[in-house]
Symmetry: C2
Subunit: 486 residues, 2 copies
């Protein structure tokens, strides 16, 4: 707590900066099991706020939570051909339990399609039971070789939506709806502008007909796939024989979707907004939106200041502002400032004897738009309302800043491989190019530049005058967004 | 949905009744993996309400949530001798992952003491870092031979509190505090009166110095251990070398506690209140506190009634009452009544053309104290406030009824084995007897009658004039509560 270890500047080594900030802000620790992280209270609180925000949006769109088992029989995973090919190599397998060897090994879920559909088929008789709109908050396990806290861990926490529909178009509508929910959450809560679009065949979910994704840009100009939404067509319904009686009395397989976001979002938050001072949290997802640091020079002052600080904290909490009074002994105010800036708290309130006399607190913002003063006094009367307004404004400023940064680091209309190579090497960021539609070409560009096709962007993100040629010189069939990515 | 299957009367076969109600109220289903259940949306919503209630109480007592890994190396479980002896036989073991055999097998957590302490030791330097008050919401796995939905499942959901303290007395105080939190939650939210007390040595948690428990009485007069709170002394701190610097500059092992409740509480809810009609839910934990059933005879009426019903639903939701409007087509009102009574909804509101003319709705309560009318009309003006008051009253009535039932099924001052045998066979319930303190005697009584010592009750539950002899005839050293239990 309150360590004053240095932080590697982002420009020097972004990856070192990331690992240090995860440790120093006490977001996560390593565990004895390779690739399994511990989410510490400060990091977990961010996850709770993410959960609350998303869960409200899922329920508002008619979804209900349920809970399905952690294990599935190995044979169940094998039922959908592409699915097993995609996931089997990453699974953890339970072979023994209760002191004896199992007849059939169990797979620890890497995702739950192959668990959910064999069960849910019994819940569906007719079109009246559709749509079935489920979501699950759970842990999943994918055995990864290279892991990084939040971004890629062996076990991670996530939500996985699973829905069944009577028609293909309803399933597609749901897939797009949830992509939209993710986008809204990322922009309005995380202050992270995202490009939405379709994944190419080689990048789609194993077992999906179509995968859509949201892609955000991090401060090192690499892309992060933040959420995915899959139209599964009738693939899983066929594999698990999930049928229903239509309104016309026929029988048909249901059309299903799945969609998920994970604790990876915390990695996205860190890398989208953090700076050389530390974490920068958007007010809506900050465990503490305001931290009060009391200042005193002697015992007399201490009593008075602490009492006023406690009253202020109570008033702010009463006004719905997540507030923490840092009354730690044996630590000077400067060290506390340093600690909370590192942890990304949006607003610090300094309160000392002179402030009390003047009936004010000194408000220090974690970030401001360029050129504006970070620090100004606020009168204690009406401070709750002032802070509410300020936090809303800061939320907007953070999104505006990230959007501007994305704009500055987006290059459009790149038509030649030489230019593409240059842009990827020098700037990075999102690069809009044409694509011939060939998977071999997609793979060659990735091989050579490490930049992949992130998405075939949705219409509103497309260029008004898109490239007519792919990087290989062939005619373009679709404009794509390419980037190096996490 | 809306099936009209019969329900076995409780008196005929309580166990059949239980299994049927779990299926018919759509609380849980079986899965392909033995002993792993699926918690369906209606059951999971109860769990979400339980979580919200408890989580608020944990945070109000200073605890923070965190998340620790699902797996632990087998060697870590072996570090605390009693702990491994208690849990190793029930564990599930991962031997393969990512297509190869692991060097050291991993245990799927049956509980997390052996995961948490090796990690948390790095977070604690001095007394200033104490107390450390953590909680985790997670899934755990214990390989059980005989399983029943909610009561005993291979995988279950729970919360596990883990705390570290500077002194023995603070750890004891925390252990008791959380036992008190559980009791408050069970009484005020679940309407389940519980006896609190100390477990005997043979029934305590593997690795604990002392285990306290809350014991409730089900409607078949068997006891249910609903929550446990463990004082772990320095056992785990020694096993995992968790030391801190005291205020005096010495080094000492921390004193730790753990405490947990699980999805078993849902089983407790079902068995504490359910009747031959179905589930009975306390208003504070009911997914829907009120269900509106619209009644119409023709299309004209239908439009009008549905519109008013929707307005009523909106008003109730606005007033903070969890309300569902059952607008299902092709299902008559009677079938809907049946369905929601089976699912234990506290209040049903019937609304038809005649009610609309009279500006009222017919309110039907799921249960009433003996003799009171279940049904009465309520004017639509002010109905939200009326229902709020009614729901609070019903919550209290349910607790009062359960407390009265417990009283009627508690037998005190049983001194002879013959009487004890008779009481256990004829009445069941809680039986207060003396105990000689001998584990052999405890085991013999259990062997012969299947009734175990539930707890050495806390002072307020003890008899004013307790038995002086144990059932074996020896002098009693402590009054105990015995019962057949789940």
């Amino acid at each position: 707590m309150g360590n004053e270890k240095g932080l590697t500047p982002q420009a020097e080594d972004f990856s070192a900066w990331y690992n240090e900030i995860v440790q120093q802000a006490e977001l996560a620790s390593h565990s004895a099991v390779r690739g399994c992280m511990v989410i510490r209270p400060y990091g977990y609180r961010i996850w709770e706020l993410i959960q609350a925000g998303l869960d409200g949006m899922f329920k508002a769109t008619g979804h209900q939570n349920a809970y399905f088992p952690l294990f599935l029989p190995k044979s169940a995973l094998d039922r959908e051909a592409e699915h097993v090919e995609g996931f089997a190599p990453e699974t953890a397998i339970v072979t023994h339990a209760g002191n004896s060897e199992l007849e059939e090994p169990l797979v620890v879920r890497p995702t739950s399609e192959a668990i959910i559909w064999p069960i849910v088929r019994d819940w569906i008789d007719s079109y009246r039971d559709l749509p079935l709109l489920l979501n699950q908050w759970a842990n999943v396990v994918r055995w990864e070789l290279r892991t990084r806290p939040f971004l890629r861990t062996t076990e991670f926490l996530w939500q996985e939506g699973h829905t069944a529909h009577a028609t293909e178009s309803e399933a597609e509508e749901e897939t797009r709806r949830m992509l939209g929910v993710y986008r809204t959450f990322m922009e309005d809560w995380m202050a992270l502008p995202v490009i939405t679009g379709l994944k190419t065949e080689s990048e789609k979910f194993a077992g999906a007909v179509r995968t859509y994704a949201t892609e955000g840009l991090m401060r090192d100009n690499r892309a992060l796939q933040a959420g995915t939404s899959h139209n599964l067509g009738q693939n899983f319904a066929r594999a698990f024989d999930v049928r229903f009686q239509t309104e016309e009395g026929e029988h048909d397989f249901v059309w299903s979707t799945s969609w998920g976001v994970s604790t990876r979002l915390i990695g996205g938050l860190i890398m989208a907004h953090g700076d050389d001072t530390g974490l920068v949290l958007p007010p809506r997802l900050a465990p503490y939106q305001a931290v009060i640091v009391p200042i005193w020079r002697n015992e007399d002052q201490k009593g008075q200041v602490l009492e006023s600080a406690a009253r202020l904290a109570e008033a702010l909490v009463g006004g719905g502002i997540r507030t923490h009074l840092d009354g730690r002994e044996g630590m000077n105010p400067g060290a506390k400032y340093y600690d909370w800036e590192r942890r990304g708290v949006p607003v610090r309130l300094e309160i000392g004897p002179r402030d009390l006399e003047a009936g004010q607190a000194m408000v220090v913002r974690r970030f401001t738009p360029d050129g504006e003063d970070r620090k100004r006094p606020l009168s204690l009367g009406g401070i709750t309302e002032e802070l509410e307004t300020l936090l809303v404004r800061m939320q907007g400023e953070l999104l505006a800043e990230a959007t501007e940064r994305r704009g500055a680091n987006t290059t459009r209309n790149v038509e030649s491989m030489d230019t593409f190579r240059d842009v990827v090497e020098s700037v990075g960021g999102f690069v809009f190019t044409g694509w011939c539609g060939d998977e071999g070409c997609e793979a060659r560009v990735k091989e050579e530049t490490k930049a992949t096709i992130r998405v075939i962007p949705d219409e509103e993100f497309r260029s008004s005058d898109p490239p007519t040629r792919c990087l290989c010189g062939e005619a373009s069939v679709a404009e794509v967004v390419r980037a190096k990515a996490y």
